[in-house]
């Protein structure tokens, strides 16, 4: 019963995808050049994993400008508004070592570390406190470990913001649309309305069509993305070969984002 709406949505999505693909297949079968549909939700190229995870190599990616470029891409494809001031919305941003790892500060850090900037985003935690507190299941964890959101169900209680120990969530205090260049918005991704919470979604919409997350693609190899449960995956390989840390280990959320220092 409880899951029925989401199941229905999934079902509707799949049937819609089927409807989109069916004419293409028919067109192909008949020999005509069928154009691919931009809105296919699921297709054969969909990337699967038991547990998606990310490793950021901060030796290669550590300047404000470099991280800004990634944030621009992320914010552009997800229609994240640019709101000035403390009611801002952000999915990917940057911070100093002290901000990123607040309780692991060192009194005499190396000069290099002091200068470095770290990309910050939702950690898609293994034990996400945001999911634990959400009273409507608007925030939920998918089978592949991605912590996703249903913006249409969120009531805007902001309990998840109080619960996330990483400050990864943003609330739409106001209507976000006036803060976007409506001529340049990404029509394949919805815009949000005021009164709901949002955050990085590990680019689920891109994984669904066989593409890597935008920030990973744009990072020229500094970010690795893959299946944590698969010993042969790219992320496991980097984790094996490097020393990595995660943010706030003491809070027990088990982040899915690792940092090579």
């Amino acid at each position: 019963m409880k899951q029925s709406r989401r199941n229905f949505l999934k079902f509707a999505g799949l049937s819609a995808a089927g409807l989109c693909l069916a004419p293409t297949a028919a067109a192909l079968a008949s020999g005509g050049g069928g154009a691919g549909k931009a809105h296919a939700v699921v297709n054969a190229k969909t990337l699967h994993a038991k547990r998606w995870a990310m490793v950021v190599d901060t030796r290669k990616l550590n300047t404000e400008e470099a991280i800004e470029t990634l944030a621009e891409v992320c914010h552009h494809i997800h229609n994240v508004p640019t709101i000035p001031g403390k009611q801002e919305v952000k999915w990917l941003w940057e911070g100093t070592y002290a901000e990123t790892f607040p309780e692991q500060e060192n009194n005499f850090p190396s000069e290099d570390l002091e200068k470095r900037r770290f990309p910050l985003l939702c950690n898609h935690c293994e034990n996400p406190s945001c999911v634990r507190v959400c009273p409507t299941k608007a925030t939920f964890k998918r089978a592949d470990g991605i912590v996703a959101m249903d913006y249409h169900r969120c009531i805007g209680c902001r309990y998840c913001m109080a619960a996330c120990p990483y400050g990864s969530r943003s609330f739409n205090f106001m209507d976000p649309r006036p803060f976007m260049d409506m001529d340049k918005i990404n029509k394949k991704f919805p815009t949000r309305m005021r009164g709901v919470v949002e955050k990085c979604n590990f680019c689920v919409e891109r994984l669904a069509i066989g593409e890597m997350p935008a920030c990973v693609e744009k990072s020229s190899g500094a970010i690795t993305f893959g299946d944590l449960q698969d010993p042969d995956s790219s992320v496991r390989k980097v984790l094996r070969e490097n020393f990595t840390i995660r943010r706030k280990p003491a809070v027990g959320t088990e982040p899915g984002v690792y940092y090579i220092i």
Binding site: E103, V133, C164, D175, T253
Partner: protein, 390 residues
């Protein structure tokens, strides 16, 4: 019985219209909030809960405090509280109405509010808070109304009311415990992450709530002549004193744990509140005012000769209410969310619009309380019970 609320002198009606005026003014601002969103508040990405939720937290305490009268009356057969029981129950109704009001004005998408019921989520404390608050409201409405009605009919209240009353006693503890769990179960929020938070909430509820109730009773006595009796007032004042002592003691326990352990996360919020940090001192004067008022009120409450002085008592109570309000209706929320997860400080201060909307909810509570008390005192007058014999 409701017809009693429709008959009253010019003083009664001007008070009612005054409240309606505030509600109306606040409501226009609320319409503005519905159009613009919560951007009209002083809230931010870092301090995502503020004045509304803080008032909600404070008022849950007021709702729970009725138990300090109901418990001695039903469990210990302390008959002197007979006249006060109904006041406590009606106060609880008004308080829960305000709690629900503050939740509604705080929600970003109020039209979807029922999603909490359509998609029940037992792992969310907010779900349980909704259950216990609404349950408590229902219990108090049923008990209060039935008792008053049977009093008016000059019959004994039906037996089931007693079992409901016992349930409501346990329930009162649950509403404040569950509300504390909203906060104390969150990782990374050191100021809230303390096992004693629920106990602190109850202690502050059991001093502040009865203090507000007593002040309201004093006003009621002035306006309607209804007197619950000197010994009832004396006993309640004693309860308030003990609860306040426990409340202050619990807070000192927090200070010891944070500063003796020397763990930065635990000290940071408290330091921000009392001495300021990173050059931000917004709450420092408030905290010291609260501290001073808490101690002065205790100095006036602890010695029996001051406490029993009915001229001094109201002043002590007012100070106590202000002190606990600063602690719980302001500092608890801001201190919990400051510093933010990046150890930085984002300041928060409620905006004028936020305060106007809050006034609307408070006025709504006052309206509910006035109407209920009007009915109760009129019935007592009809019964010739305006003054309890001591």
């Amino acid at each position: 019985m409701i017809e009693k609320a429709l008959k009253g002198g010019p003083k009664y009606w001007s008070w009612i219209f005054f409240l309606l005026l505030i509600i109306g003014a606040g409501f226009t601002v609320y319409i503005n909030q519905l159009q613009e969103g919560l951007t009209i508040t002083g809230l931010s990405r870092d301090v995502s809960w503020g004045f509304y939720i803080a008032q909600f937290t404070y008022l849950v305490g007021l709702a729970a405090s009725g138990v300090m009268i109901v418990l001695p009356y039903y469990f210990h057969h302390y008959k002197k509280f007979k006249g006060m029981v109904i006041m406590g129950e009606f106060m609880a109704i008004a308080a829960v109405v305000m709690c629900l009001g503050f939740i509604i004005v705080d929600i970003g998408q109020p039209q979807r509010m029922l999603n909490i019921i359509f998609h029940p989520t037992p792992n969310s404390i907010l779900f349980w808070d909704m259950i216990v608050l609404n349950g408590y409201l229902l219990l108090n409405v049923v008990i209060g109304w039935t008792c008053l009605e049977s009093e008016r009919q000059r019959v004994k209240p039906p037996k089931w009311v007693k079992s409901l009353a016992y349930t409501s006693i346990v329930w009162a503890f649950s509403i404040h415990t569950v509300t504390a769990f909203l906060y104390s179960g969150l990782p990374g929020r050191h100021y809230w992450l303390t096992a004693i938070l629920a106990a602190r909430f109850l202690a502050s509820a059991f001093c502040a709530g009865p203090a507000i109730l007593l002040l309201v009773v004093f006003i009621t006595r002035k306006v309607t002549g209804y007197d619950p009796g000197k010994s009832a007032i004396g006993t309640l004042a004693k309860i308030i004193t003990y609860a306040m002592l426990v409340n202050v003691f619990f807070f000192l326990l927090e200070i010891f744990t944070a500063f003796y352990s020397n763990i930065p996360g635990h000290m940071h919020s408290i330091a921000y509140l009392f001495v300021g940090s990173h050059g931000h001192h917004e709450l420092v004067p408030w905290m010291w005012t609260a501290t001073a008022l808490a101690f002065i009120s205790l100095a006036m409450l602890v010695p029996p000769k001051f406490r029993d002085n009915q001229k001094m008592l109201p002043w002590a109570l007012v100070m106590l209410v202000i002190a606990t309000w600063i602690d719980k209706g302001l500092a608890l929320l801001i201190g919990g969310l400051t510093p933010n997860p990046f150890n930085e400080i984002t300041t928060y201060w409620p905006t004028g619009k936020e305060l106007m909307i809050s006034m609307m909810v408070y006025a709504l509570g006052a309206l509910v309380l006035t109407i209920l008390y009007k009915i109760a005192t009129d019935i007592k007058r009809d019964l010739g019970e305006l003054t309890e014999s001591d």
